[in-house]
Symmetry: C2
Subunit: 647 residues, 2 copies
């Protein structure tokens, strides 16, 4: 019997006031969401056309035209609405809510009589569900459902929820093992986790059962996708699909046999998230164990130190254990979002801090690297080593960009980043009964309704600078007894905790420090975590990182940039016997703790013109400046390097 699952705290009850994170969080409300609305309405000059809203108008018959954009173009609107929901949940925004309401009206009008909702198939009149492998109908449905659930939770308004319930009811009639039903499942998982959310908010069990059906049918023999016309005739919407194997879509074997992370990284982590949900809902300990095995395969064999996944661009996919090239990888921003989703679910079910360590790594590094500090430019692909001249001239790296882009043709990542930032509270805190979990150390004020009564907690974090975090506890009732669980990050060598200045005993379990106590108004917890700079090395089975080190401070991975260190970053050797110096720069990148490293570099002025020669290069001593990886490429195009050679 599994424990109770931890729950999110209502986003309305969490107010962030963090000098680091609010840069990004505030961008979502103030810049990204208004900007993305203009983008999906094709009102931004010089941006690639989205056609997203236009497609809905065509589907409604408001205007004439054809469907444009990719088959899953509708998800841009869904993910935008989901982010809007989280945003207005945190902070009322009548203007944004009114725009969202109108967008929901448009969606409702685009829904077919029978509940079906998808502008591509509606406009093109192609047969529904005829290409589950590539058609993305269920994927698109999943994002609609997630948005509708979030919007209902944020506003209490039921219209959008009603739309997706009608759609889900229709899907329940269409899919299943029963005769006359389609016994298929989505090529791109997503609807499964969405249906679990819809079940949780409506209590309608058939939604959970449909999710369960989709997941448990996946990959069974004979493989459903092979029976579809696209496979049989090798006539694909996406021509490259003919080169993909069934692992690409995690349908190479039944899910209960899958113990390694395979295929397209986003598909994979969305599927694993649903598997975790179902393990809990069905109290299936075997499945939960399997999720943990897959999760371990990712984080101990297939994950970049920045919390990104997907070692190959072709197929945007996992490759093999310990294959982590730094410059040809895909490391899609969306896959990192999915990894955080999967890890957060595993944490909520198991209360094991190891999962939250990865959430933290993913959010602090790759998620933020995906977005520019102006909130308007995005990376889909997140390499750990970039030499612009090579990236721009060697088509092996044609998926890599040397500057963040305004908006891509396939706009999955920007709204995915936005909805994650807008729902940051769901990762930061969790609760259950009379226990409050503090997972991420982001300055914020929250109000939690524990069994023992309401608690107001003010968290002030200096986590990224000196590792000191203070929590001011204000319980509703004097001497209110409850448990505060503080995460102890796995990188921390020392953690000291004081309550009102006195070192306090605590119970430590799976990465969490548990205090049970009768709390008084004004009780102050002071947590000191060791976040001094540290050099981290790869397992030497990772060919690309042999002889190299990376620099970390707390959860942040650091990197070298050309603007600070000149070109030919690969020629630098770091002397790791010398402790890196902290150097806070008030003006750099909105205020940044930099690392000053000692080492040497090749003197290129003494290098001849010969391509091959017996002579050795000449090294000179030098000092190097490292900045957080998440901030890279905010000062123009240039080289960047995470894994540095070690002297």
């Amino acid at each position: 019997m599994l424990n109770k699952r931890l729950k999110n705290i209502d986003l309305k009850k969490i107010k962030f006031h963090d000098s680091f994170w609010n840069r990004y969080i505030d961008l979502v409300d103030d810049v990204i969401l208004p900007f993305q609305w203009e983008l999906i309405n094709d009102n931004v000059e010089n941006a690639e056309k989205s056609y997203c809203i236009q497609n809905f108008h065509v589907a409604c018959g408001d205007i004439e035209g054809e469907h444009q954009g990719v088959v899953f173009q509708d998800t841009d609107l869904a993910k935008w609405l989901e982010a809007v929901a989280y945003s207005i949940a945190k902070k009322s925004n009548p203007k944004l809510e009114s725009i969202a309401d109108k967008a929901i009206d448009l969606i409702a009008r685009a829904q077919c009589e029978d509940g079906y909702l998808n502008t591509y198939y509606t406009i093109t009149r192609k047969p529904r569900w005829s290409n589950l492998y590539e058609g993305h109908e269920l994927y698109t449905a999943g994002h609609m459902i997630e948005a509708a659930v979030a919007y209902y939770e944020a506003t209490g308004k039921k219209k959008f929820l009603g739309v997706v319930c009608r759609f889900a009811d229709y899907m329940c009639e269409v899919f299943g093992e029963e005769e006359g039903k389609i016994c298929g499942y989505p090529g791109h998982p997503e609807v499964e986790l969405a249906l679990v959310k819809l079940y949780n908010v409506t209590g309608i069990r058939r939604y959970l059962e449909l999710a369960n059906y989709f997941v448990r049918t996946r990959g069974k023999e004979p493989n459903y996708f092979l029976s579809e016309d696209s496979f049989k005739n090798q006539n694909f919407i996406f021509p490259e699909f003919k080169y993909f194997d069934l692992k690409y879509s995690q349908s190479h074997q039944p899910i209960h046999k899958q113990v390694t992370a395979e295929g397209h990284a986003v598909r994979a982590v969305y599927l694993y998230s649903a598997m975790a949900d179902l393990a809990f809902e069905y109290q299936d300990e075997e499945l939960l164990k399997q999720c943990d095995i897959i999760w371990n395969n990712i984080v101990e064999k297939k994950m970049y130190i920045t919390g990104s996944i997907g070692s190959a661009a072709f197929g945007e996919r996992f490759t093999t254990d310990y294959d982590l090239p730094n410059n040809t990888n895909y490391s899609e921003s969306c896959a990192t979002v999915g990894l955080a989703m999967f890890s957060n679910r595993m944490f909520q079910i198991t209360k094991d801090g190891k999962y939250m360590d990865i959430v933290e790594k993913a959010l602090y590094n790759t998620l933020l690297a995906g977005i520019a500090m102006d909130g308007k430019h995005f990376f889909y692909v997140n390499p750990l080593e970039v030499v612009p001249k090579i990236v721009e001239n060697n088509p092996t790296m044609r998926h890599v960009k040397t500057n963040r882009q305004l908006w891509f043709g396939v706009a999955c990542c920007p709204p995915n980043i936005a909805r994650t930032l807008a729902s940051l509270g769901n990762y930061t805190y969790a609760m259950e009964g009379n226990s409050l979990y503090i997972n991420l150390f982001i300055s914020s004020k929250l109000e939690a309704n524990l069994d023992s009564g309401k608690v107001i907690l003010d968290l002030n974090s200096n986590y990224l600078k000196d590792g000191e975090i203070t929590l001011l506890v204000n319980p509703e009732n004097e001497n209110q007894e409850f448990t505060i669980a503080l995460r102890k990050p796995s990188f921390t060598k020392n953690a000291t905790i004081k309550v009102n200045g006195i070192v306090n005993k605590y119970h430590f379990d799976k990465g969490y420090m548990y205090f049970n106590r009768k709390w008084k108004t004004g009780d102050t917890i002071t947590l000191n975590l060791d976040v001094s700079f540290r050099y981290v090395r790869s397992n030497p089975r990772v060919r690309d990182n042999i002889g190299k080190v990376s620099l970390m401070k707390g959860p942040l991975v650091y990197c070298l940039e050309e603007i600070d260190n000149g070109p030919y970053l690969s020629s630098i050797k770091i002397d790791t016997s010398i402790i890196p110096k902290e150097k806070y720069n008030q003006t750099l990148l909105g205020g940044t703790m930099c690392g000053l490293l000692q080492g040497m570099r090749i003197d290129y002025s003494k290098t001849g013109d010969k391509l091959y020669d017996e002579k050795k290069p000449i090294y000179v001593e030098d000092t190097f400046l490292a900045v957080p990886y998440c901030c890279w490429n905010n000062r123009g195009k240039g080289e960047m390097l995470v894994w540095m050679r070690e002297k």
Copy 2:
């Protein structure tokens, strides 16, 4: 005014008896050519179908059917015939010649009334010359012409030459600046150098002029390719062409403005070969200078140490200066053949040994790596670093094979390797007037007709072992005066030359040691070249080779293989302060000089399971065995590494 151009020596007059090279040369006659004939006749089980001969029968109307294979499938037969020509020029082979004669009859029957010859366009009845960018008609024509010229030179038979002259006459009517003619040029250069050969053998100047027209028109504004339907409608035979720029086909600017090597590597070096030919034929010193600039750009900025070119698989192309990744590169065997062709032409025109250094590098390393020691398996792609598990699971390297393949769908490389091996004499020696050039030190006996009379020369080479080469000179006339020019490879620090045991004076010029002397029967030249093992480093502008060394001995690049050194070759650090030991192994790979290197490697038994950790790996001292790169992968699948980390 350019000097006279050096000439090839009649292949009939060169007999190789070299323990290293004859392994491969004999394979061509005994194994490769008979085997390839079966392959292009689709008689080899488990090999991919070629359809090459079948297409000719369909084109003749012998059988009904459609064209199968790629648009340039005819070139398999052309390149096979060219190799047969060189082979029977060296050593009479009536059986092979009779097969070749019949194949030529078939080609002649497939020729159209007006001289046009191409089974793809004949069978499909697609409009001729409608897609010069991709259609490969002129490319295919070029290979037919090269084959016919070689066959005529080998056998004196004129039938095939007549066929291609009729074709060339027709092309002269079709292409040109005059009104009513097509003012285009080939997407894939090849016909240009072939037309120069045809001119040289027939003396018909319009063939030279057509070659000149093609080369000088290339890349002029408005670009011809952009006027073709395939470009205008973005409807390509090869879908990936829509992603290629004009640099891909070296048509981005007029050739007199091109000073860097760009685009598809095979296309490039075939074009540059023709440019060199035309520079000589038109006595165009500017063009020759430009060829030298491009050649320098290749060998000093874009060439692997193994003499291969093409840093990217997508587009099989050059990328940018100093971009030489070792595991994702293309380095096509055919491109190396083309580089040897270009370099040999430049040498023949300038008599500069720097060009021959590159011919030697290309032939000894990449050309031979392209072929298995069984003569039946081939590499198209020649990486310098292979980890099979990664290559097989990371689609970034899906172009790389971990074992040589029997025959590929597009069979360009195997016949290209065969024709190069069969014509090795054209690279080994050259002559002009009263001078005999010895370029490569391959044991052989030759007869050269110099102005002063015939000379028989017996070269016995221990080049790869100890660098001692002896030449027994037998002039037709006693005291016959002539010049022997011996190449001094640029890597050689010391070269001592004795004639009949006495150190001799010589004139040194651009890499050649010139002896002019009255030669007597039995005069013996002894050349001692320093071929001791040496460590070679890359220019540190090559990011991928920073901190690494390669091992060379004479012209041979060495590598580490897993079968000798275990896995994780990247973890090895070589102590280059210790001189590598020579270790001759009589049985290994047909008798091979190995290198024994001292260094250290990571002890993986002491490596934990963590992916990221602060602890350093533990190194242990070890000895490593290096073998010639050209012999790699002849003992099963495994890791291979050229650039080793330096301690």
